[in-house]
C-alpha cells in the first residue's frame, strides 16, 4: 500500500512550503544580502558584493552603538523585573482562596492584549503630555511629567508596558508551583521552616527548570521588542528608546539600506544565540531537574 505514506506527506506540505518560503528562504537571503550593498529601491541585480564591510561599518556607527546600549539596558532591566514580578504574582495566585480562578484569568488578560498594536496605542495615550496619567497626577496636585519627552521616562514607559505583559511567564510559573508536591511543604512545616524559608529552600530550587525556560523565552522576546517603542516613542527622544529591531526596520524601510539592515539582523541574531548558549551552559550550575537520569548526586 503506497497511499498512506504519501497522503501523510501531503498533509504536512502546507507547513513545509510555508517554512521554506517564509522562514528558511528569508533566513538565508538575509545573510546573503548582508554581504552586499543592496538598496530597497534598486534591482537586486544592481547590488554589489561587499564582503564583511557592512559588519565593519557598524563599529564606527554611533547610532548602532547607541541602539545596542539601549537594547542591552532594556533587556537587562525588563527580563529580571518581569520574571520576579511574574513569579510573585504566581505565588500569590497559588494560594487556595475562593474565586482564585477569576483572579488568575484577570491577571492573565494583559498578556493576551499586551503584545498588540492597539494596547501600544492606548499606552501612548496614557503617557502623553495631556494623557490619562498626567491628568490623574494633576488631580492629586502633581505637575505634568513629560513621560515620552524625556529619555529616562520614555524608557520607563516602554519598560512598564513589557512588565505589564507578565501573564504568560506567570502561567508557566503557576504550573511549576502546582507540580511541587504538597507533602514537601508539610514536611517542612513539621521541621519548623517558615514560609519564607520554605520559599527559598524548597520552592525556588524546585522551580529552577521553569525559571530557566522563562528566562530563555524572555531574553529572546525582549531582544526582539518592536511594537511598543515603535508606536509609543518611535525610538525617541534622542534615540533613548531606539532598540535594535527599530534600527533594523528603519535602515531597511526608511533609509532603504537593505544590505546594512540585513547585517544588523544577523548581529542581533548572534547576540541572542550567544545569550541563549551561555544560559544553557550555565544551567548545570543552578537548574535542578528532579527527573534526570544520570545524576550521581552533585557536581
Amino acid at each position: 500500500m503506497y497511499s498512506n505514506k504519501w497522503i501523510g506527506s501531503l498533509y504536512i506540505t502546507p507547513f513545509v512550503i510555508g517554512f521554506l518560503l517564509f522562514t528558511a528562504f528569508p533566513f538565508v537571503a538575509s545573510f546573503v544580502l548582508s554581504l552586499t550593498d543592496a538598496r530597497l529601491q534598486d534591482q537586486l541585480g544592481a547590488a554589489n558584493f561587499v564582503g564583511l564591510s557592512n559588519y565593519t561599518e557598524m563599529a564606527a556607527d554611533s547610532t548602532f552603538r547607541q541602539s545596542l546600549g539601549v537594547t542591552f539596558a532594556y533587556v537587562f532591566i525588563t527580563v529580571p523585573l518581569k520574571l520576579a514580578f511574574a513569579l510573585f504574582i504566581a505565588v500569590v495566585l497559588n494560594f487556595k482562596l475562593k474565586g482564585i480562578g477569576l483572579f488568575r484569568t484577570a491577571f492573565y488578560l494583559p498578556s493576551i492584549l499586551g503584545g498588540s498594536v492597539a494596547i501600544a496605542v492606548v499606552w501612548r495615550f496614557v503617557f502623553a503630555g495631556d494623557g490619562l496619567l498626567n491628568q490623574a497626577l494633576a488631580g492629586i496636585g502633581i505637575g505634568g511629567v513629560n513621560w515620552l519627552g524625556e529619555p529616562t521616562t520614555a524608557m520607563f514607559s516602554i519598560v512598564l508596558l513589557r512588565l505589564w505583559q507578565f501573564g504568560s511567564a506567570m502561567v508557566v510559573f503557576l504550573a511549576g508551583l502546582k507540580a511541587i508536591p504538597e507533602d514537601l511543604y508539610e514536611a517542612a512545616d513539621l521541621d519548623g521552616a517558615s514560609r519564607l524559608k520554605q520559599f527559598f529552600m524548597i520552592t525556588l530550587p524546585l522551580l529552577t527548570p521553569v525559571l530557566f525556560f522563562n528566562f530563555i523565552m524572555q531574553i529572546v522576546q525582549a531582544f526582539q521588542e518592536f511594537n511598543g517603542p515603535y508606536i509609543i516613542t518611535a525610538g525617541g527622544p534622542l534615540k533613548s528608546s531606539y532598540l535594535l529591531p527599530l534600527m533594523i526596520y528603519e535602515e531597511a524601510f526608511k533609509y532603504f539600506n537593505l544590505g546594512y539592515s540585513s547585517a544588523l539582523s544577523w548581529v542581533l541574531f548572534i547576540i541572542i544565540a550567544v545569550f541563549t548558549a551561555v544560559a544553557f551552559w550555565s544551567q548545570k550550575h543552578w537548574v535542578f531537574y528532579a527527573q534526570d537520569r544520570d545524576d550521581k548526586g552533585g557536581h
Partner: protein
Amino acid sequence: MSVDSVRLTDVRKTFNGHEVIKGVSLEVKKGELVVFVGPSGCGKSTLLRLIAGLETPTSGQIDIAGRDVTYAHPSKRGVAMVFQSYALYPHMTVFDNIAFALKIQGLPKAEIEHKVNAAAETLQLTHLLKRRPKALSGGQRQRVAIGRAIVRQPDVFLFDEPLSNLDAALRGQMRVEIARLHTKLNATSVYVTHDQVEAMTLADKIVVLNAGRIEQVGSPLDLYRKPANLFVAGFIGSPRMNTIKARVREVSSDAVGLDLPQTILSVPRVGAQVAAGANVTFGVRPENLHLAATDEEAHLSGYVILIERLGGETFAYVTLKDSEGEPLIMKLDGEAALYNHQEVRLKIDLNRAHLFAEDGQAIGVSPDFADKTDESVHV
C-alpha cells in the same frame, strides 16, 4: 501516674460539612507503638494528620506529653512524621535531607554533623549521605525518611502508611527494621496502615477505625481472640473469619444453642446475653475448621471448590451443601491431601468460635479466650 504521650479527647473533624472523624478519644502511653488500622476512607490518616497539626480539629482536644497542642503549629508539638511518599526534598543530598530540621533550628554545624552521622549509622545510610533521593532505592528512601524523623528526637513518631509504596519482599524487611528500631529507641509511635498484617506484627496496641469511629482498641491478640464486633472480626485475621447466619434455639448459662442451615450446634459461651429466637452470625476462623475424622464428629459437610497451596499451609474453599452463602475457608497443613470437588465433612472447634448479634456486636466470649487478657499476651 505517668502522663500519656498522646491523648485525644472527643476529637472531631469536618470537611465541607462532611464529618470524617466522629468523636475519637484515645490514649497512647509513653513508649507504646500504636497502630491505626482500617479500610481506606475510615479516617485513620486524617486522625494522624490531626495529631501532626497538619489539620485542625473541628472540636475536641489533643494533648502531647501532657501539653494541650490542639491548635499548636506542627513544629511546636514535638512530633516527627514519616510520610507515605517519603516527602524527601529531591534537590538535597541525603545528608541535607536528614539535617534539614536541625539547620532550621540553627544548631551548630558540628552538632548537626554528629547527629546526622549517628542517625545514618543506625539506619545504615552512611555510605549514601552524599546521594540525592532519586539515586536511592525505595527502601533506602524510606530509611532516609525515618532518619529525618529520628534525628529530631521527637516525643512522638508518626508513620503514615510508610511501607505501602514498597514491593512485598521489601515491605516485610522494612517492617522488621521498624520493629527493631522501635525496640531500640523505645519512642512513642503512632503508625497508620490499611494492612492488618502490619498492624498485627508491629503494634503494642491496635486501634481499629471504621467510618470515622473507633471500633475497638486492644493488643493484637486481644483483637484476634475477642473481636468486639463483626467489623473487627472480619478485618483482623487473614484469611478473614468465616461467618454463617444462624438463629438462637436456646440459651443456657454456659452455652448458646444455634440452628444452622445443616445442623444444630451448642456453642460454649461465657457471658452471653441473647434471647432464644434471635438472628445471629456464627463466626469461625479458618484455622479452627478441621476435616472430621468420623461422621459422628462432623458438624458440616460440603464440597471443595478451590485449593490454594502456599507450601507450608493450604487454604481450602468449601461450599456447604444446600447453601448459597460465601464459601468457608479452611486453613490446613501444607501437605493436606485434598482435591477439587471433593466432598468433605467439617469439624468446628466450638471452644474457639465467635457469635455476633444482629447489630454486629459480639455475644459473650469463647471459653478458650475468656481468661486470656492483655497481660498474658505480652511477655
